[in-house]
Symmetry: C3
Subunit: 346 residues, 3 copies
């Protein structure tokens, strides 16, 4: 049951509101559900009314709200990041249970640096290297020749195909499949001939990969996921994609083959990006958006069509199929209106 002063002593960049250093909290909570024993957080003045109605015993606040902090508070330039660190203080990762579970099937040629936690019913094939302080959850399959860096956490039932490389401090969630064959097929006499996929997947340091996400190995060269990348659930990354450092993708995104995405991009959920494109750094793609051409410049790009009540949609959508005709009709009207200067037609 640490005091605010004790929390501030453990997390850099936190200031305690005057006279509240001895106030103690037992955990963290959301504004709407926090109890008087919990600390919550506010990122901007917009949410301050909700905070005032909150039962939370303390708040993490931005400097701009510090003046309002007649209630116990920790002041942080980045309240969300500070709250993340406070949450980790109260809810640390479970400690590593060093050792290899007797039910795991581990090839004798695998190099596993102690301490490591290898869970029950894990399969580790020949030549695998696993760094120290890494934990491999139950029922994972780590293919021959894979390398996993130190301090990583692979949750249960992850599959790494042969020769996949994973960096340090990486988290991979259950059901993810990394290194499966890219979708390479040559059409020959009306049938598909498989093109062997001999590249690898290289995942950098400090990445997190979501549940049931798939990253295919490269056809000839490698598929590369940079450092600090965040991939949510059910994402598809096709062969030979290159994803820049610190890029984040929300769930259900699909990236087709050989597309390169820059650093610090944010790709909204269910966005779809076709193959052989290049997105520059700091490109933001809205949820549900289809990207059909390269986007070298930073910015926000969108294509979705918002919902309407079905009857209204029916009336409008029919015309979308004849938009070309409608433009012609407007052009005709414009010519009739001003026969001498038809600058309006496009």
């Amino acid at each position: 049951m640490p005091t605010l002063a004790e929390i501030a002593a453990r997390i850099p960049g936190l200031a305690v509101s005057p006279a509240h250093g001895a106030c103690s909290v037992t955990g963290v909570g959301a504004l709407d559900t926090a109890t008087p024993e919990q600390i919550s957080f506010v990122t901007s003045a917009k949410h301050w009314p909700r905070a005032q109605a909150s039962l939370a015993g303390a708040f993490v606040l931005p400097p701009a709200l510090a003046f309002d902090a007649d209630r116990p508070a920790l002041i942080a330039a980045n309240p969300l990041a500070a709250f993340a660190r406070i949450t980790a203080l109260f809810h640390p990762e479970p400690s590593l249970r060093a050792g290899i579970h007797p039910s795991a099937v581990v090839d004798p040629s695998a190099q596993i640096f102690a301490p490591c936690e290898i869970g029950p019913l894990v399969v580790i094939e020949a030549g695998v290297q696993i760094g120290a302080n890494t934990r491999i959850g139950a029922a994972c399959v780590i293919g021959a020749g894979c390398v996993i860096g130190p301090d990583s956490r692979i949750f249960p039932k992850v599959t790494l195909y042969a020769d996949t490389q994973i960096g340090a401090r990486v988290r991979i969630h259950s059901g993810a499949v990394i290194g499966s064959d890219g979708f390479g097929n040559a059409l020959e006499d009306g049938h598909w001939l498989k093109i062997p996929q001999i590249g690898r997947v290289i995942v950098g340091d400090d990445c997190e990969i979501g549940a049931n996400t798939c990253i295919d190995r490269g056809a000839l060269a490698d598929t590369v996921i940079g450092n600090g990348v965040r991939l949510d659930n059910l994402i598809h990354i096709a062969h030979n994609c290159v994803i820049g450092d610190d890029t984040a993708m929300a769930a259900c995104v699909g990236i087709a083959g050989s597309t390169t995405i820059g650093q610090r991009c944010q790709i909204g959920g269910a966005a779809m990006i076709i193959g052989h494109l290049t997105l520059g750094d700091e490109v933001m793609v809205s949820a549900g958006t289809f990207i059909g051409k390269s986007l070298p410049q930073p910015g926000v790009y969108t294509s979705v069509q918002p919902q309407q009540p079905h009857a209204e949609w029916l009336k409008n959508i029919a015309h979308l199929r004849h938009l070309d005709r409608l433009v012609d009709r407007v052009r005709t009207l414009e010519k009739a209106e001003k026969p001498l200067s038809s600058k309006e037609s496009s």
Copy 2:
């Protein structure tokens, strides 16, 4: 080889067509493929011509078609539901094989109420509770502290993260991942800092969850799936969503974080709903639709753009990018037409 009278005696609400009670059938079939030994079904008069061409030996019919039943029939107010029950009569669930397979890895602190079926190579961690008559398929991983109600069926290779709660009579299909970390990240100096996800997933009674579907645990509060919910395959439910009772979602749907969906909603396949929205009860979302704002009222909502032959699409879609300009042009024409009363412009 039960008779129609015997079937009617076992399923409430069925009436037998006159003089056909002794007619017997050996199983169920679709209208187009049923044999004379099988019973099929018709839900409305629209399908009656197909039924007349069918070889089926008997039919489940709605009352409105009963007069036509010169062929053997069972009359039901809800023919589809009656047919589902008849199908279950001929194809009951395989009976439970009580016991824990010797290859399963079960923590001694787990409480498993007999009779239960724990399949081969299952992992059950500390403190798990499993209700009676529940079966856990091969290679499932049930994380520490999970609770699964009675009479549930977890198919092979399902992963439940720690502290997930599953109700009674729930079915979860292979590859589903429940309780993985929500996608919570704070941006700090251009890098992502993980926000620990300390909420849980709570699944109610009588739910069915499809293959490779993912439901993330809450960030602070819980992600909640109500009673009687139906989720198809490859669905993503993000952290802190709340899904109301008896809501159904078809495959490939994505629901972003903190969205609340009401009761008895139907979400079409591949629909995408952004975060922090509220959908009321009985909202129907068409397949492929993007929902970008809250929908408090019942109704059908749609946004998809139907396919066209590619050449036509090319001509029309170009104008969509300049629709604003087109509206301006029409407004200009309207002003020229009636300079004194421009009520038409929007």
Copy 3:
């Protein structure tokens, strides 16, 4: 380190460029990254400039480029297919390690034709039949009564539900779930009643199925995947679909129930096809396209809306919601313009 002449001797249809038969290569590479010891390929004249800049020691070229081949080359009518075969020459499938791993749980009634490779921690239930030269990767679960043809490769952690049939020379990638229940539910008094799914999944010969792809079993009849079909990752095929021979689907596609797709179709990534439709042979569906009606004719069909900078999109998309009104306004203008002949109005 084979020579071009030796490669040409092993792969039908390859001609060696004059005077280069003795040139040898050690492997394959992409145009941009190949070393002088590697062979690369060019499919059309469009890529020839990149080839001229390439360090590759040899190329596979189409006949139209043979005249340019002052550099060592193999000439092939279908350079991509030839390159696939050359790649397989340098990177053959790992040889089969015959036998059943001692950690596998195999029902004694299963028939496994030698030689077969059954990996660690595999579960094979009662009555399964597996053809010769097939390998079942680690941690697969093969349900009761499944049949898998010869020369197939099932990668780790695939789940086949009971009674699934898989042909010869089929590859199935990790996390795929085949034969899970179709999404069949009858609404009864506001609740969903499960309709038992008693059909099977039948997969033909020479298919490849991607990671985490799901194919549901039929409701009454079977779900059928033809011969030579290619399915990428994270695809959903609903109950009772029929997919024609040699059809290919890119990742994240969803096909709703009872839809029939012809032969040699190509379905782009993230396309969505609703249920009970029929697509003819050689239908091409663009990436991200929504198919809402049957398409009996061959051709390319598209519906996506391309991205725009967000501010432009905001201006244009608002008008899409009022397109019907805009058409009315144009019609009004047309009537005013030519009151006697309003042929332009649609």
